[in-house]
Every structure is written in structure tokens, then in C-alpha cells.
Assembly symmetry: C2
Homo-oligomer: 330 residues x 2
Amino acid sequence: MQPKKPATIRDVAAAAGVSTATVSKFINGQQRFSAEVEARMKAVIDQLGYRQNPLARSMVTGQTKSVGLAIMDVRNPHFANIVKGANRVAIEHDYNLLVVDLEESPKREQELLGALSRRVDGLIVSSRIPLETVDWLAQQGKPVVFFGAIQRQGVVAVRTDGYRAANMLGRHLASQGRKRFAYVGFPQARWNAERLQGLQDGLAQIGASAKVFDVNLPTPEEGEAICSRVLLADDRPDAVVCYNDLIALGFMHEAQSLGLKVPDDVAVAGFDDIPLSRYANPPLTTVDMQSERQGVVAMERLLGALAGNWPDADTLLEPRLVARQSTGRQ
Amino acid sequence: MQPKKPATIRDVAAAAGVSTATVSKFINGQQRFSAEVEARMKAVIDQLGYRQNPLARSMVTGQTKSVGLAIMDVRNPHFANIVKGANRVAIEHDYNLLVVDLEESPKREQELLGALSRRVDGLIVSSRIPLETVDWLAQQGKPVVFFGAIQRQGVVAVRTDGYRAANMLGRHLASQGRKRFAYVGFPQARWNAERLQGLQDGLAQIGASAKVFDVNLPTPEEGEAICSRVLLADDRPDAVVCYNDLIALGFMHEAQSLGLKVPDDVAVAGFDDIPLSRYANPPLTTVDMQSERQGVVAMERLLGALAGNWPDADTLLEPRLVARQSTGRQ
DNA sequence: AGCATCGAGTTAATCGTTTAACTGATTCCA
DNA sequence: TGGAATCAGTTAAACGATTAACTCGATGCT
């Protein structure tokens, strides 16, 4: 099979006996032409199977009609939800969404982001991006929406209040009569510190505080692996808060394998409210961090910026406590 | 802040006192120049913060160095795994991966795919793509890797043997002493029919067959919703196979809520072996459909095709039964 | 009639790169 | 010594679109 070169606008123009300018304007609906000419172009176009070349178009218009979204890991439902939300809004506005998965590799990160940034009109970044890159982007005049708190020219920040989220969770656990707390954190995440702080402050109300453990990845495997260390310590905690639902689910599973009853012996909770948390046994208490909404808002604000509405302020979403049986009353 | 136009290769050339051709060759490492000239260019480049414009480059080289991957839903861990696998291979080979989520919207699908196809060198498609589009792609000389069985010029197919997978599962359940079977299918999926067939054939060995129910989406919510209809039928099944793990997890949860014991009263199984299946309570029996490996293989074959190695045959991956407690011996 | 306006379409420059073909100057080798 | 080969770089034509500025004829208005 011969790989035929795709038809160009010139081919169409020639075959229809008009100039390329005419074809271009017709395709983009910028001008009406005589019925006769329009019909001829239409016919030629689908006879040749002509499709615009978006690259060539972008070169001259300076717009790619696409935006980039950089995430840490598609497999994490939190990020998948962000993608989903952002995608929906993008499609509605006729923008393409290019998702890049950073794979937790900081080395590639810079490269990938750099390459991506030249292909898109704007960027949504949910990872620890080097500030240098942020500045470079802003300097190019490309709007950047950043998940997190960042004060930077040309960058708008969107986030869900992690302090408040953890605080609510802490108070919830306290109100259920829990006494000895542990927090399984993921220190590499930018949200980790504020969640821990919110939790501690919440617990401080009853004069308690959480013992801190750390995992290296925000996965159920890690939650499972650290479980025995947390629960077999002397003065075993009766409530464990994990950095996210994935960790919590792994943790809870292993706790049950160790013969402990959840929530009777130990309460377990996470963050994100991923879809499967509701279907765990027992269903997992968590805090809805509005992942999908984050994606939606981020995209809306980015597209707004592209349309010339430079945002005046950052967006702070409110978390929502989702109390389920994994922290049921003791 | 003024959105400064990014520096072009011409700016660099001018500032370094050389021609653009020189700069271009230098950047692409195609030719060595005198130490003096190279140093000057290097200096100018990072003083100006110059980065190649990949669009302009693609225009003339005819290659975008990126490939597209179309999936049905990022939120489904099966697809997330495919993305992961494909992404890994793409990065290794210095290709960009553009993921588009088709959102189950067949109308947009055509458009999105059409637009995407012009931005990439090749495409991996895991959805029911219109054959017309496939042909158009093949005609443009863009390699297409398709998940599924398809006989088409310029298209290579990759899949995991769904018949075999379901067959194994059926025999497994039979061997555990189960007698009355149900299958909760997702008829819109292209794999549904072969899984059902494999299951029925597997059950036929003990002279049994599965009663079929259908859901509209492959989600835990749907699994939950259909559960009572399946289990409260007279002659209640003692083994239920679901189209995928998500459905199965929702189903199992609801079964337990209805007061049934899994696996004692009813065995539940799914397909895909998503990460959380292992952490369900009880852990879910499933068949590993090698989602990630599918992504890896698809990308390898696509990049191979781009490098000129047109594949001689389709790839068929072997599923792997993962027997866990949700189908434990009765 | 005279002049401005409008409609339908064209011309040609442009976007930021790459690359084939070229130029001079130097070096190599017989 | 003289021609070929190499080196270090340049010139200019693409790639496939968009678009500002133009042309040419017809129409409208007074």
C-alpha cells in the first residue's frame, strides 16, 4: 500500500479552480461565496478526503487550540478524575486536551513539560514543577494553571482546602471517641504537610496528636506494607488517617488480615473519595477533595485566561467529609 | 507583564552572527562547527531562552514525534493501565503520547479522532472506531494499532484472549462446585460477546450455562444496581461473573449488603485484575487481561511500524487467572 | 451621470523550521 | 603543483496553512 500524501489546501484549490485563500475562508466559514463555487469546493473536499493540517494552521494563527495537562500518575483515580473534568470542559470549548503522565520522574519532567509547552496554548500542572519552568512559561505568555498555592506572575492557582479537610477528619474521629491516632503520610506530595497540620490541629482540640509514618508511593501496596509497623507498635492507634484512599484501602485490607476489626479495633480513613472507596468493605471514610471539580475549574480558568479574562484571584474549593463505616462509632 | 514572543531560530542566528541553517544543524547535532561559533550559539541560546518550535519542525520533517492513544474512559483502571504501559514505551523512544478520552460520545469520537490523527505519526485506538476513519488513516499512511480483532490494510491488532480468559474462569468456578451461574455483561463493549461465549463453553463441560444480565456502563454503580435483580431471581445463582472488576466490585458490595456471604452464598468474579481487586474484602477473583502489557505491546508495535518494520501478524496476549477468595471453595 | 460601497475572489507575505545545493577556503595526496 | 576531498558555513526553497491588502465588476444612491 502506497502511503499517499494527504491532500493539501492547494490540491483542493486547484481542483476546484479557485485560490487557496478562497478555500481557506470557506472552510473556516469566514466568508460566503457563490453557491456554485461553494458546491464545487465542497465536492472536491470530500472527494479528496481533505482535512486541515492543524500544525500548519497553528503556525500562522499562533494558536494550537489545545491545552496541556500534566499529572503525576493516571492510575491514581484522583488524577484520573482531574483529567476527566478538564477533558469535559475542553471538549465543550473545542479545545484538545493533551495529557502527559510524568511517571514520577523528575528528570524527564522538565523535558516533557518543555516540549509540551510549545505545543499548547496553556498548561494545567498538577505536579511539583520547577519554578524555573513556571517562569519560562509565564514569560512566553502562556497561561498556567497550577494546582496548589503559588504566588507567581501569570500563574493562577486552584486547590481544595487540605487543611480544612484534614481538620474535619480529625474532629470527626475525635467525636467518635477515638483516642490514639496515627497518620500515614506521603511526604513527597505537596499536600502532605497541610493535611498533617490540619489533622494535628483538629486532634489538638481533644488534646491528642497523631503519630506520623511515611510511605514512598501513594499506593495500596505501600499502605499494606506499612500497616504492621503502624498497628503493632506498642500503644496501638485506634484511628489511622492515610494520605489518600489508595493507601488507606491497602492499609485497611492488611489490618483485617492481621485479625483486627475495622472499625471496631481501628478506624481507617483517607482522602479523595475515589469511586471504589464507597464499595470497600467496610466502606471507607474519606474526604471528597473534589478531584473532578478541580479539573473542571482549572480548565475553565485556563480557557478564560486564553480568552483574555485574566483571573483576579485563586480558587479554593471546599472539601466535603464523607463519613462511612470504616470509622463507625466504636 | 508583556507576553513576549518566544525567541525564534532567526533571533538566535542573528544574535550569534550566523545563519539559521547553522543554528539548526547545531541544535540537531548534525554537524560540528568551530569551537568559537558553537560557544557563541550556545550562549545566545540560553540567554534568549530559545526552545525549538516543534510545530514548525514537524511541518518540514513531516514527523510529529508523537503518537495518539484513544481510550474510552481514563477512570477505568483498565484503560489507565494501557495508558501507563504505552506512555512508558513512548517516553523511552522520545515520543510524546497524546491521550484522548472519548467520553463514550460516539458523535465527538469521529471529530476528535480526525483532529488527533493529523497531529500524530500514528494512532493506538482502543475503542469502536468507525471503519471509515480507520481507512482514512491507513490511506494517509499513518500506522494504526487497534485493540481487537480487525482485518484491515495498514492496521495491526493487539488483544488479550478474552474467550480463553472467560473459559478459564468458567472452569474454575465449575471446579469449585458452583452450579448455577449468571453473567453480568456490558453489551456495548467489543469484548463482551467473546467473554460470554468463553464462559458458556467453559460451563458447558459440566452441563451448565449462565443466565445473562446486562448493564449500561462498566462501573461499580451499575454492578450495585443490578445485583438485586440477579440475586433475587428464583433459582438464585451461586456464581456471578461480571464483565469487569469494577462491575464485580459494585456487585459484590451490594450482595453483601443484601445479607449474602461471599463466597459462601455466592461467588463473584470479574476481568482485568485492577489493582484494587486484590484489596477488596474478600479479595476478588479475576482474570488478568494484561492491560499494561497491552499498552506496551501496542506502542512497541506502533513505533516499530513507524521505524519501517511493518508487522507481519497480530498479537494475542494470554490472560492469567487470578483466583482469590471471592470464589473460594464452597 | 458620478461616486462611493459592496461582493466575490485573488495575490503574496508570513509563521518557524529544515535541508538540498551551493561557496570558498583549506588540506591532502600523488 | 594541481586536482580532489574535506571543512565550515550560507542561500534559498520548501512544509501547509491564514490573512491583510488588493482588484474588478456590479450595485446603490443622489
